[in-house]
Symmetry: C2
Subunit: 260 residues, 2 copies
């Protein structure tokens, strides 16, 4: 029996290590995609795209490992929650890797777009999305349920950030004096979309950590949050149109705020 327990603990430790390796690989892809975007460096962007195959291989390996573990041992309680969460977390990590590739692809495509001034618009959001990812990985590594909860409660910010950027683009598109043309606007929208997904998938990871540690899903907390109805989007946009940027920024957009 003791031997079986040790065998299980050893498999769990290996699973955890492989997840951390995958998280680190995705973190590097994200960092490089950001540099490709900031420096307009297509070589760096290509490297991000090529590194995606290794991340996908890690996903398959971890999936297989977790399935074997469930088939051969019989984990219960926290150990079982860990394995099940690993199977879900690996999907989030892989999709964050995909979004890093999307950002890198846009960095390459934008090169030839006239007036390629994407940086001031999306770079601050890139930084926040990356911070959320790094925080999620730390929360997982150090098993910090309290910090996970904090991340989950801030899950409206990603969407607010995206909505604000899209609002800005649309205002500029409808103002002939701004000089913003549809092709560049499209690149900015697609990058912003990827950043929202990276941010919210990071919050998913925090949710898994909370579940492993506390043994309960956060669905109930989320429902509680929903009882405070957000301000209508129309009102927010009117405020933005009237130049009342501060008021608009403070209001939550009235779109569903569940994570990606």
């Amino acid at each position: 029996m003791q031997q079986e327990v040790n065998y299980l603990q050893q498999l769990l430790a290996t699973l955890r290590t492989r997840l951390l390796v995958m998280a680190a690989s995705v973190g590097i892809a994200l960092e490089e995609a950001g540099k490709a975007l900031a420096a307009n460096d297509p070589g760096r962007a290509t490297a991000v795209m090529e590194s995606d195959a290794a991340i996908d291989a890690l996903e398959n390996e971890i999936d297989e490992m977790a399935l074997q573990l469930l088939a051969r041992t019989q984990p219960v309680a926290g150990d079982l929650r860990f394995v099940v969460s690993a199977l879900r977390m690996v999907v989030d990590l892989e999709r964050i890797g995909d979004e890093a590739v999307s950002v890198a692809e846009q960095a390459v495509l934008m090169q030839d777009t006239p007036g390629c001034a994407v940086i001031p618009q999306v770079l601050p959001m890139f930084q926040r999305a990356r911070d959320a990812y790094e925080q999620a990985v730390r929360v997982f590594r150090e098993n910090r349920a309290d910090e996970a909860l904090q991340m989950i409660h801030g899950d409206g910010e990603a969407l607010q950030c995206e909505v604000r950027i899209i609002q800005g683009i649309m205002e500029r598109l409808s103002d002939p004096a701004s000089g913003l043309k549809p092709p560049l606007a499209m690149h900015i929208i697609l990058i912003t979309r990827s950043l929202t997904r990276i941010w919210r998938r990071s919050i998913n990871i925090a949710e898994h950590v909370y579940f492993i540690s506390q043994g309960e899903s956060l669905k109930h907390n989320k429902l509680d949050d929903k009882t405070t109805a957000p301000a209508p989007l129309a009102a927010e946009m009117d405020a933005a149109a009237a130049g009342d940027g501060a008021a608009a920024a403070q209001k939550a957009p009235a779109v569903d705020e569940d994570a990606e």
Copy 2:
């Protein structure tokens, strides 16, 4: 032993039934959200928002059931893949339900927006996203791996559809004669975003069905697909700007085409 096997089969059948109930509830929410959008009916939209709590409760129930099943019995091979896929599928179903709520919320908010002519722009995409969902549920119910594979190979369509709608909006915004104003454009973009997610989460469900049935992930197939590089987005947009809509529609947008 025979008794244990029967017990496991009974638990698996219950899990399957509850998943189908959840899938049906999400399908109803989606249908009602579409009607709220088409008919501009805020009462119907409110009903969709209120029904979301029941979908969330089903998610918790199925999660709990699958965990109990793993802790008490020891499923292997196809049975194990089914339970693990159920744990992932339930997340996709819940998120599709959330997006139905988002669409309903936009239907309510759009009421007071001047020139609220969203219908011709997003209704065809709504229909395609809903078809994808219904197909995914059928694929699951009838365990059709062949049809699942077909759905997975068409996973670029959702994004192409979204990109085409956003392109159209941006062209109109930058043309003062079109009369499209930023607030309505924002509603259309947020609805389109939800529809893409519904469509691609439906493809996720097809992926789970394929995995249950074939015992392998589709990551490898996806990698093969990627070797045929899509046409650059810039070229597609230039074609669209030049009025060459057919050529633009045929080209895939150069953004990452992995599912939501």
